[in-house]
């Protein structure tokens, strides 16, 4: 039983990190209808900048530098590539982000070499003891930070002018333009928020008990993609549910060492879960279904 609770907490912790990354996919998709495949390497970039900045300053300012660098990179991608290609097919733009992903990760791989960097988070390998359970502090921190960030995001999405403009534009771009809503600002903010979320997520993705940061974090981050898809790519709430579902599934299969499909089922399970859910609900759990008057 202790083991089970341990795995559930692990799963929730991992899942909340996936939720942050998945939310990045979702808001960029909502704002621009583009699937941003560069999210994974943006995340590695955030981790890299934070680590390098940490050589010169304490962790929190270093993380802020990492967040700023990632958000600005996202903004540049949006302004220079996505915005100038306005009118281009969204599928073409999605492929464009694959190109950006390859460029970014190639450069980062060159810089990393064979190093595994430690991001220098303050929790280190400390444990929290709760009765029989002992949990890495970083895992609990991940849950706390994710809850705070997600709450903040959902409040902004529901109540702020940015949120209203974003939802209006996602639903009917032309009508939103006729209301004088400037789509450019909405999309720029969406990309920057996605960058911010990635830069925070990388801290917890690479914190103890993970070995540290290398470019492999990109593949792990991309497991948030099935999370976003199964929640419904245009649903912010779906991103959170999807993230938690994937996190729990992964923690369980890894924890109980399921040997189906050759022992590393945990790496595959996000995609399996996604496939099963899409078979039942093709637009994801919370994906848009036409809301109509009966």
């Amino acid at each position: 039983m202790t083991r089970f609770i341990d795995l559930v907490l692990n799963g929730i912790s991992l899942g909340s990190v996936y939720a942050l990354i998945a939310l990045g996919f979702v808001i960029v998709f909502k704002a621009t209808e583009v699937v941003n495949f560069a999210q994974g390497s943006m995340l590695v970039l955030g981790g890299y900048v934070t680590t390098r900045a940490h050589d010169h300053m304490p962790f929190v300012p270093a993380l802020l530098v990492g967040i700023a660098a990632t958000a600005i990179t996202a903004l540049i991608i949006e302004r220079v590539l996505i915005r100038n290609a306005r009118g281009a097919d969204v599928n073409a733009l999605a492929i464009l982000t694959i190109g950006i992903d390859i460029l970014l990760i190639t450069e980062l791989t060159r810089r990393f070499g064979s190093d595994v960097l430690t991001i220098g988070d303050p929790w280190g390998n400390k444990l929290v003891h709760l009765g029989n359970l002992s949990l890495p502090q970083a895992r609990l921190a991940a849950i706390t930070v994710a809850v705070v960030l997600l709450t903040g995001f959902f409040a902004a999405f529901k109540y702020s002018s940015w949120g209203v403009a974003m939802r209006a534009g996602a639903e009917d771009n032309e009508a939103a333009a006729l209301m004088g809503i400037r789509r450019g600002r909405v999309t720029a903010t969406a990309w920057m928020v996605a960058g911010l979320l990635a830069a925070v997520a990388v801290v917890f993705l690479t914190a103890f008990p993970s070995p540290g940061l290398d470019t492999g974090a990109r593949e792990i981050a991309l497991r948030a993609f099935p999370a976003a898809i199964l929640g419904g790519l245009d649903s912010t709430g779906g991103a959170v549910v999807g993230g938690l579902a994937i996190g729990l599934a992964e923690a369980m299969t890894a924890g109980y060492s399921v040997t189906f499909l050759g022992g590393s089922l945990a790496d595959v399970i996000p995609y399996l879960v996604m496939l099963v859910i899409l078979l039942v609900r093709p637009s994801g759990i919370f994906g848009t279904r036409e809301l109509s008057r009966v």
Partner: protein, 269 residues
């Protein structure tokens, strides 16, 4: 206040949608533009509201000025800030947003952010049903209520000129009459109205002047009374044979309340 002169617009460089249109919306007046499908009505409005680019259209020649300033090169958001706000064809409300959020979205482009709460009170005054349903998702409103929401949403930006693209489309005659009266109220409060319609009875019933578009050109123009009396308009839009559908429309025209009233009880001060 709005002057369109010799406007030529084409889509994709080939399809000529407008071929030399000139029209004039004087301050505090209601101007109707009539025309059948494909006459260029929507293109004209897209050009004024600067959403032509979203449809891959471009102005070939001609000018649009507003209070003497050219609107060329402005984007949609800046046009709204100047006080020109459009209620799009088919209402285009944000169905997944609540009524109140729709109104809020309408106020996002307002030039004067402080006037928003006043605008909202005014909209709820004009459309009490929207106040009742403020927390509902807009998609669940009836067609007439959605049209009211679309108009209310546009009013949130405190327009000096409100443009409506076929507000009567798909609505019951009774609701059409109601929309017509509301437009008169809005106009009486000092907002100019540019009304594009296929429902000539309602449009000519409230307009001061009117234009008839035909395949990208102005084929007729004059005061609303003149046009309503002209044989061409009677023949094309009002229908002289008393079929059921046109009969229903004529009822709306005869509706006493559609004519301007001396006092507007809901709208004093």
């Amino acid at each position: 206040m709005l002057e369109v002169s010799e406007l030529h617009v084409s889509y994709g460089g080939t399809v000529r949608a407008l071929q030399g249109i000139s029209l004039d919306v004087p301050d505090r007046k209601v101007v109707a533009v009539l025309g059948s499908n494909g006459a260029g009505k929507s293109t004209l409005l897209r050009t004024v509201s600067a959403t032509l680019r979203l449809h891959r259209g471009a102005v070939v020649s001609g000018t649009i000025t507003y209070d003497g300033k050219s609107l060329a090169g402005l984007d949609a958001a800046r046009t709204v800030r100047l006080g020109i706000v459009q209620v799009p064809e088919g209402r285009r409300i944000f169905g997944r947003l609540t009524v109140e959020e729709n109104l809020r979205a309408g106020g996002l482009g307002a030039a004067d952010k402080r006037s928003r709460s006043g605008s909202k009170d005014r909209v709820f005054d004009l459309f009490p049903i929207l106040a009742e349903r403020r927390k509902q998702r807009a998609a669940l409103l009836s067609g007439g209520e959605q049209q009211m929401l679309a108009i209310g949403r546009a009013l949130m930006a405190s327009p000096k000129l409100i443009i409506l693209d076929e507000p009567s489309l798909g609505l019951a005659p009774k609701i059409v009459g109601q929309i017509g009266r509301i437009l008169q109220t809005i106009n009486a409060d000092g907002t100019s109205v540019l009304l594009v319609e296929q429902n000539a009875v309602m449009a000519l019933g409230i307009a001061d002047t009117a234009y008839v578009l035909d395949v990208g050109r102005v084929s007729l123009s004059g005061s609303a009374q003149e046009l309503a009396a002209s044989d061409d308009v009677k023949h094309l839009y009002l229908g002289h044979a008393a079929t059921t559908s046109t009969g229903a429309r004529t009822d709306v025209a005869r509706d006493e309340s559609l004519r301007p009233k001396a006092t507007l009880s809901r709208w004093q001060g």
